[in-house]
Symmetry: C2
DNA sequence: TCAAAAGTGTTAGGCTTACACCCATGC
DNA sequence: GCATGGGTGTAAGCCTAACACTTTTGA
């Protein structure tokens, strides 16, 4: 195929995007990884991502690579950090623009693809050895997730559009890794006026049905307080 | 010189760094700009920055370009955001990794250089028309500066190593664009245990001398609260 | 009737905010 | 002695955190 026909006066690095996609699965914060089909690091686990097309927006590239390698789309996505250590890739100089992504826990079954032998979810505290500097990227993403939790409405991106207050509290408890007081949590959350009752109830299980809420302005992650 | 001898199988974008350097000058938040010596946008004002060397770390590139174009070094520097709109530069596809920088107000006299016809400070609210997407970058940097003010010790990066509480309060007032209560400001600042008295006094002017303080741990910007 | 999760208020303490006068110096 | 900025404490209100029992349902 292409035979080194793209030439420049000065050396150019390659640019990739990599995505740290989080979801809560089985009450655990988990990360989506792919197993590399090709060298370098063939067979090792890594973040989904790949090379930027020359006419492609950075965020589009992140979305496209996530879709191609895992079959997942329509998640919350924001830029995380750009990694550019000259030795981070053994092939050539590669700058990676990384993204931080969240998805709802339900119905995300990753599929394999040509660049990825397979894709799978891993609990954040049970990650396999990772290719490149991807461990570092995941740790940074985790810190970003935790800090945004306290000053934004980002947690709703990890829930379906309709949810109970107990489900919402559970997201916070899993992410913060601590138990929260039910009365204080509900009082504080309702006082922010970012969620509203739908009028519907979830009657699942042998106990009192729970009110189902939704986000008032579901399209945007807002900065609060 | 070099005649397109750097060739690749696939097209590569160019990578630059650009730096938004803030300082307080004449009681005003100001940004350092350079006037472009070459096309595109020759003669227009722009952020200091330039192309990444192929073996160079991203942060080193930001520091180097700042030094080359303005003669300024040793400032606080952190990565801001990576801009990659495919049309942001008319020459070729260019990804810009931008940095947010702070310096002390005193003794920063920029000089010109080969890439910059001249360098100069502009008050943030009196910026000239800017090349590329540099306006957008500056606005993002300003938002970052304001938000970090409330949860980190970043303000000390805009002061010399020894300062009075009035000088410190003045930095906050200029950045926040509001007046702060003197007693509350001092109480709150001292309660954080991040500054200490030096034992010295500033006797400047016909009034009571002010205690001179310093940061306890001057090397690091810390997250507080 | 029992088990399981949903739902609901009050109080104490800490933090934030508002506010006004004396102090040390140079001229 | 006067003008200039430096330095200091208290009280009210607001926000945060701690804490336990009743409700509704399915089995």
């Amino acid at each position: 195929m292409a035979a080194k026909k793209h030439c420049y006066d000065y050396p150019h690095p390659a640019v990739t995007t990599d995505v740290v996609l989080f979801a809560i699965r089985q009450q655990t914060l988990s990360v989506l990884l792919i197993q590399r089909a090709n060298d370098p690091f063939q067979g090792m686990w890594a973040l989904p991502g790949g090379f930027l097309d020359i006419d492609e927006d950075l965020e589009s590239c992140a979305k496209r690579e996530l879709m191609e390698e895992t079959g997942i789309e329509a998640v919350y996505l924001e830029q995380l950090y750009t990694f550019g250590n000259p030795q981070r890739d053994p092939r050539e100089r590669i700058i990676s623009v990384t993204y931080f992504a969240l998805s709802q826990s339900d119905s995300l079954s990753p599929k394999a693809s040509s660049d990825a032998a397979q894709a799978a979810w891993f609990p954040i505290d049970e990650l396999p050895a990772l290719a490149f500097d991807h461990s570092e990227i995941i740790q940074l993403a985790r810190r970003r997730l935790l800090s945004k939790l306290s000053y934004s409405t980002i947690a709703f991106q990890m829930l379906p559009g309709r949810f109970t207050l107990s489900q919402l509290q559970s997201v916070y408890e899993i992410l913060l890794d601590e138990n929260l007081d039910k009365r204080n949590f509900r009082k504080g959350m309702l006082a922010r006026n970012i969620i509203e009752e739908t009028g519907e109830y979830s009657r699942s299980g042998n106990h009192r049905p729970a009110k189902i809420y939704r986000v008032v302005n579901p399209s945007r992650v807002e900065i609060i307080k």
